[in-house]
Symmetry: C2
């Protein structure tokens, strides 16, 4: 195997593929990165057996040459050193060569690295998804769906199914839902092209977080294929495969109250900043509890209290407050997460009393829903 | 006590003073920050009893008003919350008020924080330096002196004296020296104004690192006073007091060879980048050892070797090589630290054989000296 490659292209691909490579894996060769040279380009592969990522660098694209002098072949390189070496090489191009004894030479300018490779034949064959069932989405929309929901997954392994995000595609509506049983985040969008439906698959939150980091903010399409135990995200040069979580995701729709006793309309950023400040004195308590009190149908008071340290109080003007007066306590962290996910200037918050879950939504947009369970305070 | 202060001024001062405040201190009140309001301005104080920092915000400077409506008084506030509160306040001004029950109110816009203060009378009196013996330096020069030497101090408590930087002021020459007994860094500069001399004081490395972070890169003067157990750095609005280390600093001058067998002139950045790359494959070894070999009076080869992983080789062209051929091994980390401290385009490296310490200096500048002990390799 031999090729000469543009260093910046190689760096970008190596970074993407590294997201799937773990130093802790039961299969030692998976701590390495597979490099395959074919006439038409170079493919890098990394996997921790939960997530597998392939990144492809075409020999030529858009009239630009990225890889030259390709001699076909493949090798596995230790991933611990390879990214740093590539990043620090002196020239704009890199020559990579592997001989029949699995000795790899990396050259750039006068710098030469000789590394011990491993036989690519010993690298596990990645499962190829046997399905034509897929749908398409804009990449930046997918990133938004992930960002607006994945923070609400559970980080505790007591209910493993809650460490994933629930995906549902029905009637050309795609819905992401995440909950840790104290709060819930969901987002729904219409999908144009779809030849499948599924009612409930669960993608590990870790997979979605890594995918989010790799994807560019572009309106290019991303193709998503689903089988009963895997999900594949595919763009032009990227192939991201994740296992699905086993188990039944809880029915969340009945958590969402369909009535409300108090409705608050308020500027998102005002509320966010006020709660952020109040949370500074809510730290003593594990739950970072702050209290919200409506006042005279126009004003909201946010307070927090740490007996040893002191208290914070701040009033903000609401756009409007409808219904009953309210005093309610909740986790400032959950509220901050939810408000950050809203991405609209104004929010509508629907309460059904101090002990019932409440709902946060953008005004005039029901596709984003954030739900938080209040905290009892005495 | 009461005053209204520009928030950005307060933030900057609080950040500086926080550098001296530790959560681990034998004297509980030192986890707090002392605030004193006087007619002419506000003084903040923090101390961990090794380092004490005072920052002063004048009521007015350069025709700008920074503090208004001052009612004199003082209070101690818990430092754990105060900086975050000030940073997150909504408006450009902050009102701080303490009542006779030590209740402190911080107001900005509609945000109000009520904190429990402590009696400033209980805050330890900082030792005032009783001396007129001082000298002056440009602040940016002092920062340079620190940066070029402090990295070479020992981090091990086995020889506490080596965790400090040795300062010497004789014949209007100020010299900083640091060594961990494997390498040494020193820098000497002339001082214009000085009414003292001292042959050997040792300032804790930690103090100099904190001072470095606080000082601005300005050519404004900084006044330095020294007694037998303390050193004071004073600028217009800052007062930085550190204890000195007890003990005798080792005589380092005889470590420095006065002859050389091989002299190498080379571009600093070329050598730095090459060693940086080679160090990637020197990690297996605790000492990050790389090897330097002179070749044909014109070329230097840098190599490293990690038996399990592979080897790196790179040649660089020297400006010139004088004297005997040489093979020498040394810690890449020490060499990188030394080269970064040089700050000149070209370096001169003087070797006295593979087993003797070698010296790195800028070409045509003897005021900066870096010394490294080689590593035996077999």
């Amino acid at each position: 195997m031999k090729f000469i490659i543009q260093r910046d292209k190689l760096i970008a691909s190596v970074q993407d593929v590294m997201k799937a490579i773990s130093t802790r894996t039961a299969i030692p060769i998976l701590t390495g990165m597979k490099i395959e040279a074919k006439d038409h380009g170079i493919k890098l592969t990394g996997s921790d057996s939960d997530i597998s990522i392939e990144s492809y660098i075409p020999a030529e694209s858009d009239g630009m040459v990225h890889v030259e002098e390709i001699e076909e072949g493949s090798i596995v390189l230790q991933a611990r050193y390879f990214p740093d070496i590539v990043r620090k090489l002196p020239e704009k191009t890199v020559e990579i060569e592997a001989d029949s004894n699995l000795k790899v030479t990396i050259r750039s300018g006068k710098a030469e690295f000789n590394l011990n490779g491993q036989d690519a034949e010993e690298y596990p064959q990645l499962p190829k998804l046997q399905t034509d069932d897929s749908f398409e989405l804009q990449t930046d929309l997918l990133k938004n769906l992930i960002k607006q929901t994945v923070f609400a997954i559970s980080t505790m392994e007591t209910r493993p199914i809650l460490t994933g995000v629930n995906l549902k595609l029905e009637g050309k509506q795609l819905k992401f839902t995440a909950t840790d049983s104290h709060r819930l985040a969901s987002r729904e969008i219409p999908v144009k092209e779809a030849n499948i439906e599924f009612s409930s698959i669960v993608v590990p939150g870790k997979s979605l977080n890594e995918l989010y980091k790799i994807l560019d903010d572009t309106d290019e399409p991303i193709e998503i294929s689903v089988t009963n135990n895997q999900i594949l995200f595919r763009t032009k040069h990227l192939y991201f495969l994740s296992r699905l979580l086993d188990g039944t995701y809880p029915e969340t729709s009945r958590l969402i109250p369909d009535q409300s006793k108090t409705v608050l309309y308020v500027n998102t950023k005002d509320l966010l900043n006020t709660i952020d400040r109040a949370s500074l004195l809510a730290k003593e308590d594990r739950n970072n509890v702050v209290r919200l009190t409506t006042k005279d149908g126009q004003t909201v008071e946010i307070t927090s209290n740490s007996p040893e340290v002191g208290r914070a109080t701040e009033e903000i003007s609401a756009k409007s407050i409808e219904g009953e007066e309210l005093k309610i306590s909740f986790s400032s962290k959950y509220m901050l997460d939810a408000l950050k996910a809203i991405e609209y200037d104004e929010v509508k918050i629907e309460f059904t009393g101090a002990m019932r879950p409440f709902i946060i939504r953008p005004v005039n947009n029901d596709s984003i829903l954030q739900l938080i369970l209040p905290v009892r305070t005495y």
